[in-house]
């Protein structure tokens, strides 16, 4: 794991964070639930909490789908290529490329579209950035920078957990998994049918 330059974090007095979706995107509840699950994965291992709010402009974390140049100097490039980006604490901006074929539900590995991208996988990664993690060289880690189409990878790896707990401490309910677990267990290539 790694951190952004200067190791920015959400301040100690501000660890209960709110998130909201750009109203113009008119996301369905199914899509919003994907992000909720992604936030919960990080909340489960840290002292942070995440609550959805309707007030986009007052939310700590702002989720928005854009295409092409959207004004932050990091234009999106159409299908595949760059999928999303997120800013370090305490910016809270989380942008996804609206040109991608995002899959919010169902088994992405069986998608009939060769460019299908699993939304939750990307959401878990970008939330890591919002919280202060940089990229990791550990291929099993969520914070590894690349993800292939039709792939699902949503489980935090020990590398991700060690990194985020170094920044915020551990959730009191979190227990370290047994060391015998295979690194491959972090890669999930099956349906996201509510087993998490």
């Amino acid at each position: 794991y790694s951190f952004f330059e200067g190791r920015p974090t959400w301040p100690e007095y501000h660890r209960d964070l709110t998130y909201a979706f750009l109203p113009d995107n008119e996301l369905s509840n199914t899509t919003k639930e994907v992000f909720t699950r992604a936030f919960e994965r990080w909340a489960a291992v840290t002292t942070l909490t995440f609550t959805e709010t309707d007030s986009y402009y007052e939310a700590d974390l702002k989720v928005a789908f854009y295409t092409g140049d959207h004004g932050d100097g990091e234009p999106f490039d159409g299908v595949l290529g760059t999928l999303a980006h997120a800013f370090s604490p305490t910016s809270g901006r989380f942008h996804l490329d609206g040109a991608e074929t995002w899959v919010a539900e169902g088994d992405v590995t069986k998608s009939s579209t060769s460019s299908a991208i699993d939304l939750e996988s990307v959401a878990v990664h970008e939330i890591g950035h919002l919280l202060g993690l940089g990229h990791s060289s550990v291929e099993e880690a969520i914070m590894y920078p690349t993800i292939s189409a039709k792939t699902r990878k949503v489980e935090l790896a020990s590398d991700d957990i060690q990194g985020i707990q170094e920044l915020y401490g551990a959730n009191s309910n979190y227990t370290t998994p047994p060391s015998s677990s295979s690194p491959n267990s972090h890669q999930e290539n099956t349906s996201n049918g509510g087993d998490h």
Binding site: S115, S137, T146, S148, Q162
Partner: protein
């Protein structure tokens, strides 16, 4: 473009599936080595600049496989645990073509990734060779 449950999506609702990925053209550079020139190589330099492997101060890239590109490739290969050859071998090209997060891997010349460390060295399971 958000598909709830993509499997049963009717073909007419699936976007143009023949669309090329943004970096598919990099495949043409497979086997390209230092000292060579290849049409469009400047786009690969743009890629490396975008993700921090070439300094922001560099502009107007040529299609020459120069020292700067070789250095960028070597750092990239370290970050992604590839063989550090400085050449655009199959594995490196394959990795470059993958979709990815837009955040840079290197900020202000400092790699935010654990350059070149094999995955096992980051694991808490790596306890052998303890010296007393």
């Amino acid at each position: 473009r958000i598909h709830p449950n993509i499997s049963p999506t009717p073909p007419w609702q699936v976007p143009n599936d023949t669309a090329k990925g943004a970096w598919d053209s990099f495949k043409n550079f497979t086997g390209c080595r230092p000292g060579q020139k290849s049409d469009g190589l400047s786009k690969l330099k743009d890629y490396f600049k975008n993700f921090g492997y070439i300094p922001d101060s560099q502009h107007n890239f040529t299609d020459d496989f120069d020292d700067e590109l070789e250095s960028a490739i070597k750092t990239y290969q370290k970050n992604f645990n590839l063989n550090v050859t400085g050449e655009l071998d199959d594995k490196t090209i394959e990795n470059l073509m993958k979709s990815r997060c837009g955040n840079a891997d290197i900020v202000n010349g400092t790699s935010t990734m654990n350059s070149g460390k094999p995955a096992s060295s980051n694991s808490s399971l790596n306890f052998h060779a303890v010296r007393h």
